[in-house]
Symmetry: C2
Subunit: 289 residues, 2 copies
Amino acid sequence: MPTDQNQREKAQKWFRELRDQICAEFEKIEMELSGTEFSDDPAGIFTQKAWDRDTDDGAHGGGGVMSVMKGRVFEKVGVNISTVHGKFSDEFSKKIPGADDNNGQFWAAGISLVAHMRSPHVPPVHMNTRMIVTSKQWFGGGADLNPIFENDQDSAEFHGAWKACCDRHDPEYYSKFKGWADEYFFIKHRNEARGIGGIFYDNINSGDWDSDFDFTKDVGKTFLDLYPTLVRRHMNKAWTKEEREAQLIKRGRYVEFNLVYDRGTTFGLKTGGNTEAILMSLPPEVKWA
Amino acid sequence: MPTDQNQREKAQKWFRELRDQICAEFEKIEMELSGTEFSDDPAGIFTQKAWDRDTDDGAHGGGGVMSVMKGRVFEKVGVNISTVHGKFSDEFSKKIPGADDNNGQFWAAGISLVAHMRSPHVPPVHMNTRMIVTSKQWFGGGADLNPIFENDQDSAEFHGAWKACCDRHDPEYYSKFKGWADEYFFIKHRNEARGIGGIFYDNINSGDWDSDFDFTKDVGKTFLDLYPTLVRRHMNKAWTKEEREAQLIKRGRYVEFNLVYDRGTTFGLKTGGNTEAILMSLPPEVKWA
């Protein structure tokens, strides 16, 4: 496969470091809450749970670590890192670049994060980045914000940060990846966007691994700089029962997207991935009208 | 298409009558509640909402009526009847018996019911029956019970009633349709059954329309006789907060099944069906651990 061991180790190490930095920052935020409904509760801390990929059929290997925090700011936030390798089914190999002419062999590492917040004023968020190797090699990832009540300043800062991140690497990235997010994070059967979008990218291979890896690292760093600002902006404001209800209904849309359209979820569930890790993205409490 | 107008009208009329009988019985049950958490609330009544199938592309027609009750026994129960006709996409026609050699033309009528209950002791239920016409014609349907806490008497009566119903029509039906339910109502990614099963049948065409229609009518009548007994058996018992939590978690499994595997749901959502009617089956409140 077209990467050396050193590149794979660098990517894995980065996803782990990014996980550590994000979890540390989120735990810091937990300690800063004051004045809202849950501020007398203890600050949340992450718990980790490692999982191994089932190796019964010889076609799976590797594993991952789930980090979950159920706190007073973060109602439920999950940060997964994983490194998996094995062999895709013949049918699946046809859909994955470079897998068909590689006997289905693949290697993949990545980080994936979903945050559902106590306050309806703090926008939920999703971010993931990954490196994949078949007979080809590429990076992919994305991030999108799913506010219950859209806030112009948040939206401008969120989109602005991703534009700046993309522009640091390639002048063509932003419009392409923003467009891809708008198209991807859309709930067709509701004819409504899942949130305000962000960026979505895949199959990134410019021929320069270091430079592609730098972009994927920058996506992680941009997220780490950006999202805590939005959380701190809103987390100390009170909310009404009606706002909470609107949040629970909005979460239903998130569930619909994840179980019906999300490629990572449907791919994972249908190819024997770790169900607990995959469905960590589901909200803790949801309502449908 | 291989049925006369008279048969179609008979089927439609039956689904409507069955809907009326079920709704009347469920409203009666609502009035009988005493002694539990919600018994001071007013008894629920059904509200109806008609919908038309979108005809923009000329490929859709017909519509349906949703009946929904949010009551004190039934937390949310939906009973849909619909009669739709039109033309399947070329791709979809290949998957439906007799559609490919009929230019995709189809006609379908049916009833579909899902009940989510206030009490964790009252088992949620699903039932549906339908008549479909392409260049072929057949009946399909099924029912399954999804208790939070399994109850031996309920299970024995539920399975026993379906066995008796099947045996009245064909000695081979029950083992076949029970097996099909066990296979179908299964959440693969959790490696767990959705509930205790029941019956699931499809492509029923014995060559004798009247006799096949009698079986589908008997499924409806069996349900109408069976489920109210189970509701009345448990609805006046108190429940704990922990039992309610278990119910909300169990409902998450129902959502996962419906959005990932349920053929009616995924078919409907991906072929431009009425989203509100299709997703009426989703529980009013759900939790994921």
